[in-house]
């Protein structure tokens, strides 16, 4: 066990993947010699060589198109998109190519590409270094979407994503890249995709979250406990595939649901979760489902702390449904 932050956990997972499987290659903008703008690939080029860890020209479509071509040939590319805000030039390659190749070829051409990219706000990044684009990609058939929240889940989910026979968008919560620390096993381990966990147990209301905002939800649970409200917190870990049972079982127990995500509200992933619970656990509900999300605005620069869901907003929503 080593005390690590998320960056170090990601680096450890990539180092293991490169060592275990000679078909794994890493590439992206500034990830080789420089080691990545967040240092996630620090030292990996020196250790594994310039052929397997390399810098690319500045083109996201180029990065993902290259990854697809390599995957078609049987390799296991783990490309990085420097910020998830920059992913849109590769949207066509991801949505129309990466996610459809297996289907279009009837399974002859799986595309086991793991696209790593930091997402989310709270770092004074403004419009183009803060977005949470997960809903676009969760809406894309054939693509898995995974969001770790801390060093332990980052390492275990990343190794599982790289092993997975299908393409995975791996969204790293950059706001807590360094702030979140934990004891992490030095050896390899995998956390299954599509398995949510009950992060803490409670009876009165279920809070579901993923990624960076999970830490705000934990604080909200503390605040609620101080006010005699027992909240159960579910960490989704992966949006696609989605572990419905863990969420539904929790809602059946508590009868109330508050959904939290940073991304804008309209057609955010919370809408999917609310529809799911309405379809499958309506009669267990004792209050309306509430969402605490980013607003339907471009990600703001100056007012980002007002934009982002925080512990208090989550607390207030929970109080509302408990008092309904």
């Amino acid at each position: 066990m080593t005390d690590m932050n998320i960056i170090q956990a990601v680096n450890s997972a990539l180092d293991i993947a490169l060592s275990e499987n000679e078909d794994v290659v890493l590439f992206g903008e500034d990830i080789g010699r420089f080691g990545g703008v967040f240092r996630a690939t620090d030292g990996l080029q020196a250790k594994h060589g310039e052929e397997r860890v390399f810098d690319t020209p500045l083109s996201e479509a180029g990065i993902i198109g290259t990854a697809i071509g390599m995957a078609l040939y049987g390799m296991t590319p783990v490309p990085e998109i420097q910020f998830s805000d920059f992913i849109y030039p590769a949207f066509d390659q991801i949505v129309n190519e990466l996610a459809k190749f297996r289907y279009r070829s009837g399974g002859q051409y799986p595309c086991p590409v793991t696209v790593r990219t930091p997402y989310g706000g709270g770092i004074r990044g403004g419009h183009y270094h803060s977005q949470s684009p997960e809903a676009y990609f969760a809406h894309t058939p054939g693509l898995k979407v995974v969001v770790p929240s801390d060093p332990y889940t980052a390492k275990g989910l990343l190794l599982a994503s790289i092993d997975d026979p299908d393409p995975v968008l791996f969204l790293e919560p950059k706001r807590v890249y360094r702030a979140s620390r934990a004891d992490v096993p030095d050896e390899a381990y995998r956390l299954p995709l599509g398995q949510a966990v009950v992060d803490r147990e409670g009876d009165h209301v279920t809070v579901v979250a993923y990624g960076a905002v999970l830490h705000e939800a934990r604080r909200a649970c503390d605040l609620l406990a101080e006010n005699d409200i027992s909240a159960e917190l579910v960490d989704l870990r992966s949006l696609v595939p989605l572990d419905e049972e863990t969420l539904l079982n929790s809602v059946r127990k508590t009868g109330r649901l508050v959904i939290v995500h940073e991304a804008p509200r309209t057609c955010g992933f919370g809408a999917e979760l609310a529809a799911l619970v309405a379809e499958k656990a309506l009669l267990h509900l004792e209050a309306p489902i509430l969402r605490v999300t980013g607003y339907d605005t471009p990600f703001p620069y100056t007012l980002e702390m007002q934009y982002l869901p925080d512990a208090l907003k989550i607390f207030e929503a929970c109080e509302t449904v408990v008092d309904f």
């Binding site: 479509a61 279009r104 399974g107 599509g194």
Partner: protein, 345 residues
């Protein structure tokens, strides 16, 4: 034979390779079959059995002249009108028919349209209807060959539409940066006006100099010239020399030579009877395709269940549930709306 090369390319292969007469004949027969395939696809389209399928007419030298320079382990990234390369690479007529008709028992499970052909076993990538995206993927596949120490190469065909995209620039640039074993073959349509609307400049091959790779122009109506240009580029790629950009110029239809007839004249000059060769090959191939279509028609339409196959290696719980819901729905309403009009008594 109108043919110009850059100085760099001329240095790369001073003596053009020659094609043995047997290969020349096979190339000619493949081009003849391509015309039959065009007619067959047009007929299927007229009968509404498939959607529109762009013809390969005028492109035969681009396709089959280039193919003659490759070996079966080399990878192909064709464009939409080039599905004939699968047949040339050995795809059986019945499997071709299953794929074209979207049969549930085809290699792609009926998931793809008639132009989006795939055959991994033949090293042919799934043909994408998008413009230009496959240039980058070609560079990626060739990059993988380089890393894996394979001496195979990638051949990527594309036209002026794809050439106009940002992806074309990115694909060529990536290929040049990493010196991958790829041959990018730009083929014109023969419609100079349409081409001029898509691309500026006199020659697409001129751009190669800017990328730091050889650029070669070749007469796209002359299969032997195409073979020689591609053969030189392939040799260069196989020996670690990196990518080449070839521009195959198809003469305008109203004034230009027909690529099938150009090669026929060359065969006749070598003492073969191209006319009877073509007649026999056309008759046999037409019968083969027609027979295959008849044999597999109605063989197996894709099932409702197959809609959900190969989205992922293992269907997610949500997909399984959606599949079960669709099957239950169809079970309850086997006649669709008709079941509502005649409620069961």
């Amino acid at each position: 034979m109108a043919r110009a090369r850059t100085k760099k390319a001329a240095a790369a292969s001073a003596t053009p390779a020659t094609l043995p007469l047997s290969d020349l004949k096979n190339t000619y027969l493949a081009m003849v079959r391509s015309r039959v395939l065009d007619a067959c696809l047009a007929d299927l389209s007229r009968r509404s059995l498939i959607g529109l399928h762009p013809p390969a007419a005028g492109y035969e030298a681009h396709i089959y002249g280039a193919l003659a320079a490759l070996r079966p382990s080399d990878w192909l990234f064709p464009d939409l009108r080039m599905s004939g390369v699968l047949l040339a690479r050995g795809l059986g007529a019945r499997e071709w028919a299953r794929m074209v008709l979207g049969s549930g028992s085809s290699g792609h499970l009926g998931h793809a349209s008639s132009a989006e052909m795939t055959a991994r076993s033949l090293n042919v990538a799934s043909v994408s209807p998008l413009m230009g995206s496959h240039l980058i993927q070609s560079s990626g596949a060739a990059h993988a060959m380089k890393i894996k120490r394979s001496d195979d190469v990638v051949l990527c065909w594309f036209g002026p539409g794809a050439g106009a995209t940002g992806d074309a620039h990115v694909g060529l640039n990536f290929a040049a940066v990493y010196k991958v074993p790829a041959v990018f073959y730009f083929c014109t349509s023969g419609d100079e006006t349409a081409d001029a609307e898509r691309l500026g400049g006199e020659s697409f091959a001129q751009r190669a100099e800017g990328y730091g790779m050889p650029g070669i122009r070749v007469d796209g109506s002359d299969a032997v010239a195409v073979f020689q240009a591609v053969e030189a580029a392939v040799s260069r790629a196989r020996s670690g020399g990196g990518p080449t950009l070839i521009e195959g110029r198809t003469p305008a239809r109203d004034e230009g030579a027909d690529p099938v007839e150009v090669l026929a004249a060359q065969l006749d000059a070598a003492g073969l009877d191209s006319l009877s060769l073509a007649r026999d090959a056309s008759t046999a191939f037409e019968a083969e395709l027609r027979g295959a279509v008849e044999a597999v028609q109605g063989e197996s339409a894709p099932t409702s269940s197959s809609l959900f196959e190969q989205v992922f290696a293992e269907p997610s719980p949500q997909l399984q549930e959606q599949r079960a819901a669709l099957l239950a729905h169809r079970n309850r309403f086997p006649k669709g709306l008709g079941d509502l009009e005649e409620p069961p008594s």
